[in-house]
């Protein structure tokens, strides 16, 4: 019964991933001159300054955006976990950024940050038009802009995972703490936070894996620019593979993204996860 599903996944996910690895061991262009180069492209990658920059940008993006999303997500989760009138509407409102297509969110932020017609400049500087900032033309600001757009779009998803964690904390634990005279902050710090750790780890993992895939935001908002300031690795891989048609080197980049992502995820699971287990058994 599971056969059709497994076939789909095998043909369109597993086989392509393995084939990417094989392709990365061959020279770039298909045809009679194609030859086996072993790990030659990987050696090239180590020497490629554009790739180095792309890896640093990606890592910075992943670390900053996931941290902010976890903070915002926890805030959102704490709010929508409370019981109040109209909670369903608030939950729906918070989910809307998650539902909006990333391409739409990217165009929206690009317009909000526009140097002449953008709302952000209008809010910050009002009529002082000469003070308007061309946000996306500055390398650091542009980097900040893609993080801002990602945080806006996906904090609510992180929030949902944290909310699921909040919902399994039994209400009695809080009652007991209240009887003992614990303040709201003490209850959060000593009950909610420790019990929330598994959910936070899950949210961190999911957001990290997803942040490594960032592409739409960069494609629409900055095209990797200005300079290479927002060129994330997935965008560099896309350009190498599909714009330049360098199959061998392009797949080398993509396989490396995969490995980097897997290593960071494993690192989280091993360090954060094992600390968690120790505390639980202690």
């Amino acid at each position: 019964m599971a056969f059709p599903a497994l076939t789909f996944v095998a043909v369109f996910s597993l086989y392509p991933a393995m084939d990417s690895f094989l392709l990365s061991l061959y020279s770039d262009f298909p045809g009679p001159e194609r030859s086996f180069v072993g790990f030659g492209h990987y050696a090239e990658l180590l020497q490629d300054p554009v790739a180095h920059q792309a890896f640093i940008v990606t890592l910075g993006f992943v670390l900053l955006s996931t941290t902010l999303e976890l903070l915002m997500g926890t805030g959102i989760a704490l709010v929508v976990h409370e019981r109040f009138k109209g909670r369903g509407w608030v939950r729906a409102a918070v989910l809307i950024p998650w539902a909006i297509p990333t391409v739409v969110a990217s165009q929206m932020w690009r317009f909000l940050l526009n140097d002449q017609y953008g709302a952000i400049n209008a809010i910050l500087f009002g009529d002082r038009v000469d003070a308007y900032v061309p946000w996306l033309a500055d390398p650091w600001m542009a980097f900040g802009a893609i993080i801002l757009a990602d945080v806006w779009k996906t904090s609510s998803f992180a929030g949902l995972l944290v909310l699921a964690g909040l919902q399994v904390i039994p209400e009695e634990t809080y009652d007991a703490a209240r009887v003992d005279g614990a303040t709201a902050w003490q209850r959060f710090r000593h009950i909610t936070l420790p019990l929330l750790k598994p959910a936070l780890l899950t949210a961190l993992l999911f957001r990290t894996i997803d942040a490594f895939r960032v592409f739409d935001l960069v494609f629409v908002m900055t095209q990797g620019g200005p300079g290479d300031a927002t060129q994330v690795i997935q965008f560099y891989g896309y350009k190498t593979l599909f714009t330049e048609g360098r199959v061998g080197y392009g797949t080398t980049i993509s396989v490396t993204v995969f490995v980097a992502m897997a290593i960071l995820s494993l690192f989280y699971v091993r360090t954060v996860g094992s600390k968690l287990l120790q505390r639980e058994s202690a």
Binding site: M1, A2, P4, A5, F8, V9, F12, S13, L14, P16, A17, D19, S20, G75, V79, F84, G88, V90, V94, L95, I96, A99, P101, T102, V103, V104, S106, Q107, M108, W109, F111, L112, Y117, G118, A119, N121, A122, D127, V129, S156, F157, L160, L161, A164, A199, R213, F215, D216, F219, V220, Q234, G237, Y238, L241, F242, I253, S254, V257, F258, M261
Partner: protein
């Protein structure tokens, strides 16, 4: 309650922060060209529908809408038809290594698209699937299957086994038990999986960009990302197109907020 003001502040900030940026885009879509280009920007629109007309007729937006409906609709139907028996088998039957299958599916769902993009493109080139809707639907089904299978498996798990046992005793086969007994009970789960699959396929950009290079066949995200004016950025038209592309999703969220939240956390946490 001592923290009532804090809670109210939190609700206010969360709602405002979530909605305001897009609200500005909605306001923009109802402006006329003069207001969009006003410096400093003005807040209130003059209720002009110029950009909607231009997006619909000059930029042929309905074309993109139609393509998106075809692609997202077929992806949803096929993914569910394929995922349901798989999830049922994983939830109910004694299969060797089924935890490995579920774990494997989760891993596959995490592949960065770029890792599979090159070979998928080559497969579709060989099959003649480039620039066709089915050529995009095939990888979409594969990419949405893991989440659909996860959601449905959790759902089937929670249904009582006794019902099927009774059905078996009455002579139902496994397939009959699934279609006659379990499916009607699992409708909410199917619905959730369908909504999430649809939203994924409706929003996906990376593969759509690679596979559909012919404007006749492109989906909404590709159309909106590549929107170009002759001389200036057509912000008004982009805003109008964005509102049209987002409207179905906002309706889905408003109607099925509860199911979406349960489905997303089922895929992520309950494993």
């Amino acid at each position: 309650m001592t923290h009532r003001p804090v809670l109210l502040g939190g609700i206010f900030l969360a709602v405002l922060g979530s909605l305001c940026p897009f609200l500005w885009f909605i306001l923009t879509s109802f402006k006329s060209q003069i207001l969009v280009e006003a410096i400093p920007p003005t807040w209130w629109p003059d209720g002009s529908l110029v950009f909607y007309a231009s997006a619909l007729f000059e930029h042929r937006l309905l074309h993109y809408v139609r393509n998106s409906v075809i692609v997202a609709g077929s992806t949803t139907v096929i993914a569910l038809v394929v995922a349901t028996p798989a999830a049922y088998a994983l939830a109910r039957l004694r299969l060797p290594g089924k935890t490995w299958v579920l774990g494997g599916l989760l891993c596959v769902a995490m592949f960065p698209p770029i890792v599979i993009a090159g070979p998928v493109w080559q497969i579709l080139e060989r099959l003649g699937g480039l620039n066709t809707h089915w050529g995009l639907v095939l990888p979409y089904v594969s990419l949405t299957l893991p989440l659909a299978v996860w959601i449905l498996t959790t759902f089937f798990h929670e249904l009582p086994v006794e019902l099927e046992e009774a059905a078996r005793i009455d002579g139902c086969t496994t397939w009959q038990a699934l279609y006659k007994i379990m499916l009607p009970l699992a409708t909410p789960g199917l619905f959730t999986a369908a909504i999430l699959t649809f939203i994924y396929a409706w929003n996906e950009f990376f593969f759509a960009l690679l596979i559909l290079t012919d404007p006749e066949r492109q989906t909404l995200p590709v159309g909106i990302a590549l929107f170009q004016g002759e001389f200036i950025m057509p912000w008004g038209e982009i805003a109008a197109a964005s509102v049209i592309a987002t409207l179905p999703l906002i309706i889905l969220v408003l109607l099925f907020q509860r199911g979406i939240i349960n489905g997303l956390s089922a895929g992520a946490v309950k494993g």
